[in-house]
Symmetry: C2
Subunit: 346 residues, 2 copies
């Protein structure tokens, strides 16, 4: 069990060469030997569905915690990239009957909810990475669109994760595999983070920054909150902890980034995490901004990610700009997606 003796290795040249066509590799020789692969938690299967036909054209996998946010994002991105559904059709939750995650597909953009916490997103990611493999998707990019607490950063700020740290400030995710502890690096694509940052506009009425993100396994005690069912530390202990985080470059706290980074890195998939701050934790613990304000804030990471998706599609000639510059939520520009064959890259 050589895998259990230490951290995972980087991809060798040979491994990279083997997938030079850009399709997603699985570090699992068993899958191709299976008669069928049931993606149980997303209600899909390699025999029950023609996954290549359904998903072969996916270029962007966008994930967020709640089904509602991802449904909203699906409608938003449809508008932003000018994707037209056939007359008399509407978006459908592809994973509706899993009763666990929601999945919407808008042309090249897959929008999936991942629930809360690293175990929940890990189940989804195993199945979505296998979905990319079965569908032979070319170089898909994974982006998590989330909410978070800020450290010295005001509510409404958009944060792009530079490095994801676990509760012990390690830039890795700790797995327990066959009873053994395994750490895998929680690396995100720094070029993608910078590219996302470059799409923030001086006209945006909020800041967009890059920084380190702490990923915890709990919202209350695990994030130093004083308002959980239990709290056995003092406010001074809490503030010392948050200031220690800040001294280490941590600008926000959420609950999924380390495993999201570790699994995408392990699969050789480019990935980014973009979150909006719901509150500055140096000022309090309770999320008490009005619902309308929170709803508007939650659109901000979506706007940034949509600018990125439009830019990439435009670079590949898959988007025809009707207005010629980036839109915002207040004055959305309409683009028309140039229809292409889903296997255009094959």
């Amino acid at each position: 069990m050589s895998l259990l003796t230490g951290n995972s290795h980087s991809l060798s040249e040979e491994e990279i060469d083997e997938y030079a066509d850009g399709t997603v590799k699985l570090r699992n020789p068993n899958i191709e030997l299976m008669d069928q692969d049931i993606l149980y938690h997303v209600a899909l299967g390699s025999e029950s569905h023609d996954l290549r036909e359904m998903f072969g054209d996916v270029k962007f996998v966008c994930m967020g915690g709640t089904p509602k946010r991802m449904e909203n994002f699906a409608h938003f991105i449809m508008d932003e990239i000018g994707y037209k559904l056939p007359a008399g059709t509407q978006l459908q939750d592809i994973s509706e009957f899993s009763y666990r995650y929601s999945m919407y597909k808008v042309g090249p953009v897959l929008c999936v909810s991942h629930g809360m916490g690293t175990p929940s997103i890990s189940i989804l990611m195993h199945e979505v990475i296998k979905l990319m493999y079965h569908a032979k998707c070319i170089d898909p990019i994974f982006i998590r669109i989330g909410t978070c607490g800020g450290i010295g950063v005001d509510g409404g700020t958009v944060i792009i994760t530079e490095d994801a740290l676990d509760g012990h400030l390690r830039n890795s995710h700790e797995f327990t595999i066959l009873g053994e502890t395994v750490h895998r690096p929680a690396k995100l694509d720094k070029k993608l983070a910078r590219e996302l940052k470059s799409l923030a506009s001086a006209d945006d009425p909020y800041d967009t920054i890059i920084g380190k993100t702490l990923c915890t396994n709990d919202f209350y005690e695990g994030q130093g909150r004083l308002d959980g069912a239990f709290c056995e530390f003092t406010e001074t202990d809490k503030m010392n902890y948050l200031e220690k985080l800040r001294d280490n470059g941590v600008v926000n706290i959420e609950m999924e980034s380390t495993i999201f980074a570790a699994l995408t890195h392990h699969a050789g998939i480019k990935a980014a995490v973009v979150c909006v701050v719901l509150l500055n934790r140096l000022n309090g613990d309770q999320v008490n901004a009005p619902k309308e304000v929170i709803n508007e804030w939650q659109q901000r990471p979506q706007i940034l990610v949509s600018r990125y998706i439009r830019k990439v599609l435009a670079q590949h000639g898959q988007l025809k700009s009707l207005f010629g510059h980036h839109g915002s939520i207040k004055s959305p520009r309409r683009f028309k997606l140039v229809q292409q064959e889903s296997q255009a890259h094959d």
Copy 2:
């Protein structure tokens, strides 16, 4: 920060005396000093809602992974305890606009979805324990109704957890609080487990057993599956691991039991975990039983828990049996809940 130096202490006599009225204690002195307590992830608040009026009569908090299962359970238990809604009303998801968890209330039974994995259920439990506190509920009993993989146990078997073990076979849950590791005992109520077991019927066309439950943070690699996006161990490694689990008395694997046990124990709440096996992991990894079969299996823990709830209500004179013996899903007996004031115990 004395709390961080080791495991949590047991409740002292003084602490137990302090709550001799049966209301739920919070090990957090901050809550009673707060102007309002926003239970953000269940869309409730101590100022925005009259929590005592709404929830003061809750005696049983039943939790399960998916919103759909808990909605089904709410309708099932309503029928089983003969609870009547006012004419022209229907059950409503109390937490609908949290977009995170679903919550249904059927008289003394609160039915809540918890998502997947320990972080997801931990957020819910902090907020539901605080809800019990604000509502001044008397001696509420928490029961998780779940699904699991079996170790040497066939699909459809019902398993009551005796002890919850973490990925390293420790009977505790590991928390990270202010960057420090804290273990809390993952203790469930053994008397409650035996009482639930005693309600299994010889006529049930399936087994109901008690045993140890392994709680993991991942469904694929973390449970020794060969069919994830990654698998870097052999089938022999996997089987050796599963057999080691069996040798340690583990009969099933799921993803929430340690934290469910640890948080209820820490709050002095009686709790149990009842799961149905979806597959025998010694025979495979994929969940491939037909949907109708899985749906029928998922009713089995619900039937057992409903027998328990009816028994307790009957003991307290809150249930009038119309037929006089336990029902089953195929021939449900009707009981009539004797309406009582919600603050009958005050």
